[in-house]
Symmetry: C2
Subunit: 210 residues, 2 copies
DNA sequence: CCTCCAAGTAATCACTGATTACACAGCGAC
DNA sequence: GTCGCTGTGTAATCAGTGATTACTTGGAGG
């Protein structure tokens, strides 16, 4: 049970953490595609097989890193829009929503490879560890705030998903094909305005269902 | 210049095409991740090195396949919403828009690995060959139709990009985290309604700019 | 007919993911 | 203390991979 002990234990110390942070920094330096377990071990001054004491295979390592990616994203959210605080007026509610979207889009842009890993076939572990609220919950909170000031109607689950989709899609595509290098922040703000516009309408759902 | 000749030439014949279609079918059978040039060559009854006469490296093959993916997507569009026909009334314009979104989302769902390849780091070649209109142009046409019946306002480039983002994000995420197995078509329709709602508002852009 | 060149082969390099048998430190039990 | 056990790392090895090279082949064109 010495796994949680962060000091150097006997041979290398905390290899597991070292491998993870190595991979993480590889992702942030554009070197994820040519990351190999062996190179990581080499750079960490350890034999190739050692890594397999901590991860059953390479994908397990990548999955762990993807999971940490979600933690990092939550941290970004927390910095941009503290989860425990609340907007005091309509303008601030709007601003918080935009800030959240900006944080998401920025993350996707700055940490592209990590982001791809997170939403690639190895990621997708819904909410994951760390006790932090998930993107989805964070977004939900912002929407409820917007609703509380009458900016949008009461958010249903599908509204929340729509908002997420729109922001996620924007972050994935990053730029319209027709414009080379758009002012990123303005683009995100514009999209937020669209989302708010959509969610401020009377319920299409009930109208269509009848 | 025998490269365009589709008949069997002398040794294997059209290896290039065979490699491409092998890769394509691998992608459609969930075997893209363990595709290897050697295995492809083996299954095609050819030596490993032969492939490198036709593609400088593995990524080049994958890029070609990604490009074909965009062609296939355009074909799907053409089947769902023929590019040369037009809606005759508002209802049909709406229906065409929904059909386009459904085609997009269906493609992302049914041919997931190919789709991931297309929008992954190897894809992204904007519009590509085959002379077909791109997704972006197709969408633009649908929006213009919607506008022509007064359903939305005149589509600006940013409107078009917003619509694409929303549909793309939906297709990438596929389902809200809270719902296990949503009725896919209804979900897409709902999203389309949201997009239309957003684009039917007076221009937020000009209002914000002033 | 003969030459030339696209298209394939065989052999090889460096490297990778993964498994196995082994070594060794430090801990608690006795 | 020493015995043994478990966690952690090593060394060696296997099968498979992307890629390159030198060599062969077979059909089309002069």
């Amino acid at each position: 049970m010495a796994e949680t002990k962060p000091s150097d234990a006997h041979h290398h110390g905390n290899l597991k953490e070292a491998l993870v942070s190595y991979t993480l920094s590889a992702a942030d330096n554009g070197g994820l595609s040519d990351l190999s377990v062996r190179k990581a071990a080499r750079d960490l001054g350890v034999s190739p097989g050692a890594a397999y004491r901590h991860f059953p295979d390479k994908n397990a390592l990548l999955r762990t890193v993807a999971s940490l990616g979600f933690d990092a994203l939550a941290e970004t959210f927390e910095h941009a829009v503290p989860f425990d605080s609340s907007a005091r007026d309509a303008k601030e509610a709007r601003a918080r929503f935009v800030k959240l979207a900006l944080a998401y889009s920025d993350f996707a842009h700055r940490r592209r490879e990590l982001w791809r890993l997170m939403f690639g076939p190895l990621g997708r572990s819904p909410s994951l560890a760390s006790g932090r609220p998930s993107t989805y919950e964070w977004l939900g909170k912002c929407l409820i705030e917007l609703a509380s000031f009458g900016i949008i109607k009461d958010p249903q689950p599908e509204d929340q998903f729509f908002a997420w989709s729109a922001i996620h899609g924007l972050s994935d595509l990053q730029r319209p094909p027709t414009i080379a290098d758009p002012p990123q922040d303005a683009l995100v703000e514009r999209h937020c305005a669209f989302v708010i516009a959509a969610l401020s309408q009377e319920s299409y759902a009930s109208r269509a269902a009848q």
